[in-house]
């Protein structure tokens, strides 16, 4: 176990370095001179020269990469060109909203996905199975942005049950207020996050449900399940208590992957529902071609994703006795 943890932690280092290098290289993909691109069509040669100097573009690439690394280690991601503020400050101000959205979506997709998968496996080949897998197939093929629009159209525009856009109090602080007796902010926050989170979650829910079904079917064929049935344990208990616990292992291993997909999908959902997170920031940074900000955002997304993957792997090691007891 210790061996595994140490090896996994060590693997994180080259990964993080690689991520930084790729992010750095993004700047090299720009056709032509980045300074000229940034300043637009009516740039003067003097202006370009000054900006080149300011961006350090006159130095050879290895010096630039080196100073990029050094700055990052000090927590300095550069300076946004259009918002005239440090990139790290801008990102930190938006990070909470995106993580909240992604985590809520992850929870929804696990609950929906596991339930659907277990129901399908429980009645393999039957009508419930067929319907569940049809829903899953549609869920996988449904573009996030289209689902988001349909949900908004149905629940916000026509029915008027839920707000269409925006975010209220962060869930955590709303939860705190609810504990002191003020429930209204929590209800507001939940109403606002419902549509973005559900539309973001469906895709992952569908993928998880197929995975749970497959691994449930495998577990249900094992001897210990037969033993449990033979000694007269109720079917529901066998399924939900004995089998599911073992069938969930593969699900744990894909949670990291799903989280990455949710972070990416958040860019689309946030744009549609005007959710003030990193995704929205990404779009405005790209439209303005604010390169330091784009780099910072990409790096942040990748590092969160890598850390979640690392955490999930460690969690998996702790849960799976085959690794834990080695």
């Amino acid at each position: 176990m210790t061996d595994y943890v140490i090896r996994r932690l060590l693997l994180f280092v080259p990964m993080a370095i690689g991520i930084v290098i790729v992010t750095f290289c993004l700047l090299l993909l720009i056709p032509g001179d980045p300074a000229a691109v940034l300043l637009g069509q009516d740039a003067t040669p003097e202006g370009i020269a000054t900006l080149r100097e300011a961006l350090g573009l006159n130095d050879p690439w290895y010096i630039r990469l080196g100073s990029y690394f050094a700055n990052l280690l000090r927590g300095d991601m550069g300076y946004s060109i259009f918002q005239s503020a440090p990139v790290s400050d801008i990102i930190l101000g938006r990070l909470g909203a995106t993580i909240e959205l992604a985590v809520v979506a992850l929870l929804i997709s696990i609950v929906f996905g596991v339930t659907l998968g277990v129901l399908a496996a429980n009645r393999q080949g039957g009508i419930v199975d067929a319907i569940a897998m049809l829903i899953a197939q549609i869920g996988i093929s449904m573009p996030v942005y289209w689902l988001a629009l349909l949900l908004m159209l149905g629940f916000a525009v026509h029915l008027g049950w839920l707000p269409a856009i925006g975010r209220e109090e962060p869930l955590i602080s709303a939860l705190g207020m609810a504990l002191t007796g003020n429930v209204q902010p929590l209800l507001d926050s939940l109403a606002h996050i419902a549509l973005p989170a559900v539309s973001l979650a469906l895709n992952s829910a569908a993928i998880i449900s197929r995975l749970v079904r497959t691994s449930m079917l495998e577990v249900l064929r094992e001897d210990f399940v037969r033993t449990a049935k033979a000694k007269g344990v109720r079917r529901g208990t066998v399924i939900w208590r004995h089998a599911l616990r073992n069938a969930l292992l593969p699900v744990v291993s894909v949670i990291g992957l799903r989280f990455g997909a949710l972070l990416g999908g958040a860019i689309l959902t946030e744009t549609i529902f005007a959710w003030p997170g990193l995704g929205q920031l990404t779009i405005s940074a790209i439209s303005q071609r604010d390169l330091p900000l784009i780099q910072g955002i990409v790096l942040t997304f990748a590092l969160i994703y890598a850390s979640v993957t690392l955490l999930v792997d460690l969690l998996y090691a702790a849960v799976d006795p085959r690794i834990r007891l080695r």
Binding site: P14, M15, G18, I19, I21, V22, L26, L27, L29, I30, P31, Q124, Q137, I138, I140, S141, M142, P143, V144, Y145, W146, L149, L150, M152, L153, V157, R210, R213, T214, L217, E218, R221, G260, A261, L263, G264, G265, I267, L268, T271, I272, T282, I283, A285, I286, S287, R289, L291, I294, I297, V298, F301, A302, Y305, A306, T309
Partner: protein, 296 residues
């Protein structure tokens, strides 16, 4: 020996084929998926013949008209025929997806073959590089690349390639690892076959199953991403009739006239569904190891 191999392979192929045919008809997802994708492919290829109207022909009095005999799927915000725009949009989506998937499959396969066959530090290096690319949330990387390179058909395809080749590399590496120890590969090596010959003539043909499955599923993903880019305004610029653009432009009128967005989104979903069903169906036939067990 070199003469015997093709003969053996041919016998094996014949055997699988005769075994395969009835299974194709038992495989509903393959059948439905193939029908959907073939239809959309034909529509895209013959778009100029199938389209009933000129793409740019505006008909302002008839904007946002619902389906009618004149406009089978209705019209958009400029009164342009949606059906004609959708079939031309299929051309854009499919050509970008096909280019991106072919290129990713080729790059990923070569990386996977080399990595799996040579092992050692080559493998270590290539797999660490693959890990780094897998370390970005896919859509984030796609967007970042298009953001710096600018919109356009080639750039969109390149951004899709950058995120998709890794999957092929990982899968082909693992099949290569197991195939490399097979007797027929050992025999070829003993006979002095060069490594490119072993990789491309002996190992590659036996890895094609999983690659084809991945490619089919990859076409669906590529279409979703391409449309997402157009939806966000970073795909092909208008007047290109991309599905993503119609979907996102339609949202401006969504309160009163949701039809334009709904129908464009439906086009994306049906196409993606087709490729996903096709991929799932192909997996049952071509890649039995990954088969969803307990299916039949």
């Amino acid at each position: 020996m070199t003469d015997a191999t093709p003969k053996l392979a041919a016998t094996a192929a014949r055997r699988t084929r005769s075994f395969c045919l009835p299974r194709i008809f038992r495989n509903a997802s393959l059948l439905i998926g193939a029908t959907i994708t073939a239809t959309i492919l034909l529509l895209a290829i013959f778009a100029p013949l199938v389209a009933t109207h000129d793409l740019m022909q505006m008909d302002m009095p008839n904007r946002f008209s619902g389906p009618s005999s004149e406009h089978i799927l209705g019209t958009d915000n400029f009164g342009r025929d949606l059906w004609s725009r959708l079939v031309h949009g299929a051309r854009i989506s499919l050509s970008i997806a096909v280019i991106a998937v072919l290129a990713s499959a080729v790059i990923g396969t070569i990386v996977g073959l080399i990595s799996g066959y040579f092992g050692g530090w080559v493998d270590l290096l290539l797999m660490r590089i693959t890990d780094v690319f897998l370390g970005f949330p896919p859509l984030v990387l796609v967007l970042a690349v298009v953001a710096v390179m600018g919109p356009g058909l080639v750039n969109v395809a390149v951004s899709l390639i950058i995120v998709s080749w890794t999957e092929y590399a990982r899968v082909v590496r693992s099949t290569t690892l197991s195939l490399r120890e097979q007797n027929y590969v050992q025999a070829a090596r003993a006979l002095g076959a060069s490594w490119p010959r072993i990789l491309f003539r002996e190992i590659l043909p036996n890895s094609l199953g999983p690659i084809i499955v991945l490619a089919s599923l990859g076409l669906g993903t590529a279409i979703i991403w391409e449309s997402a880019l157009s939806f966000l305004g970073f795909g092909l610029p208008p007047p290109a009739p991309t599905w993503g653009w119609s979907l996102s432009y339609g949202t401006r009128f969504i309160r009163d006239e949701p039809w334009m967005s709904i129908i464009s989104g439906a086009a994306i979903m049906i196409t993606v569904l087709g490729f996903n069903l096709l991929g799932d169906g192909l997996r049952d036939i071509l890649d039995p190891r990954q088969q969803t067990r307990g299916k039949g």
